[in-house]
């Protein structure tokens, strides 16, 4: 009697993992379907309203910097306020010349360190993707970037 019970205990027993596998397959399929394979990020911008002008009024030297984008990928950098200047960064090989633009903006940032905001204006037809590229290029230098209306 004793021998037979020991014999029963010694028998191999296998866990039936087939239903677990079934559950895993369903779960993996669900997670793969609902997963998003693109990651979204965001960029801060403002809309040019008089409040930004008021901010600038508190600065030592009241200088407003605006970047005007045209259809031919030329950028006109304008200074208004206490100083009035205008410089054009022409397109390079049919695209924005970001290197030259950054050089110009770094120079302006050095001259007017208190001015950390800029206004971005563009021709009506310019695509949003180009606006995003420009924001990306200038963001490090002018964190407070506002979209403004172009003087036609």
């Amino acid at each position: 009697m004793k021998t037979s019970s020991r014999h029963e205990c010694e028998q191999d027993f296998e866990l039936n993992i087939a239903p677990i596998i079934d559950c895993f397959v369903v779960l993996i399929a669900y997670l793969l379907i609902s997963a998003s394979f693109i990651s979204l990020t965001s960029m801060d911008v403002q809309v040019a309203v008089p409040a930004i002008g008021a901010d600038a009024a508190n600065q030592k030297e009241n200088v407003e910097i605006s970047l005007d984008l045209d259809q031919n990928r030329n950028v006109t950098v304008r200074l208004t306020g206490d100083r009035t200047e205008s410089m054009v960064v022409p397109a390079r090989e049919g695209d924005w010349d970001f290197a030259a633009l950054r050089g110009k903006l770094e120079g302006l940032r050095g001259r007017f360190p208190a001015t950390d905001s800029a206004i971005l204006t563009a021709v009506q037809e310019l695509e949003y993707s180009q606006i995003v590229r420009m924001i990306e290029a200038t963001r490090g230098l002018y964190p407070k970037l506002a979209l403004g209306e172009r003087d036609e």
């Binding site: 993996i28 997963a35 990651s39 979204l40 990020t41 960029m43 009506q124 949003y128 995003v132 979209l147």
Partner: protein, 174 residues
């Protein structure tokens, strides 16, 4: 050898006496690892920001996380607030009958007024909170082909109604 002989030999062959068992333990291990990986990536990247199928967002290397806020989508056919179409567009252009004298779309104005009133009714303390925390956030999901004029009109309309912290949602460039 004739076919009949072959068949007879095949039928005469002894069937295996032992039961065949498929070894699925290793498969279970693989599935467990896969499941853990998927669950982890699902929990870290979770967000309710799902752009519409027709929307093609621009690509940029921004590093900021997308926080929950009112979602405003601009596609070629409509402007949507929280997935509800509020203003119709024709190839990214507003209907001229829908424009106010300041160039902002009338229907979008009405939708944003309704939204702000609803928010105020739901949370009366929000008016005071705005003064403390700044203007409410607005997530802008615009198609990459949206012309500047349309984008500017939409954002100006939102700014008129008290939104000041605009977050342009883009696809992260790796």
């Amino acid at each position: 050898m004739s076919n009949r002989k072959k068949k007879r030999r095949f039928l005469r062959r002894k069937k295996p006496t032992e039961e065949m068992v498929l070894q699925i333990t290793s498969m279970a291990d693989i599935f467990t690892i896969l499941l853990v990986f998927l669950l982890k990536s699902f929990s870290t990247g979770i967000s309710n920001i799902t752009p519409s199928q027709s929307l093609s967002l621009p690509i940029a290397s921004a590093q900021e996380n997308v926080e929950e806020a009112l979602k405003l989508e601009v596609s070629d056919s409509a402007v949507m607030i929280d997935d509800q179409p509020v203003t119709s567009l024709k190839n990214f252009v507003f209907d001229s009958n829908d424009l106010e004298s300041n160039g902002t779309p009338r229907s979008l104005n009405a939708a944003l007024v309704a939204f702000r009133e609803k928010e105020r009714a739901r949370n009366p303390a929000s008016a005071g909170a705005v003064a403390e925390t700044g203007a409410p956030q607005l997530l802008v999901l615009a198609d990459q082909k949206t012309p500047y004029s349309t984008l500017k009109a939409v954002m100006t309309t939102a700014a008129i109604h008290g939104f000041g912290n605009f977050k342009l949602v883009v696809v992260e460039d790796h």
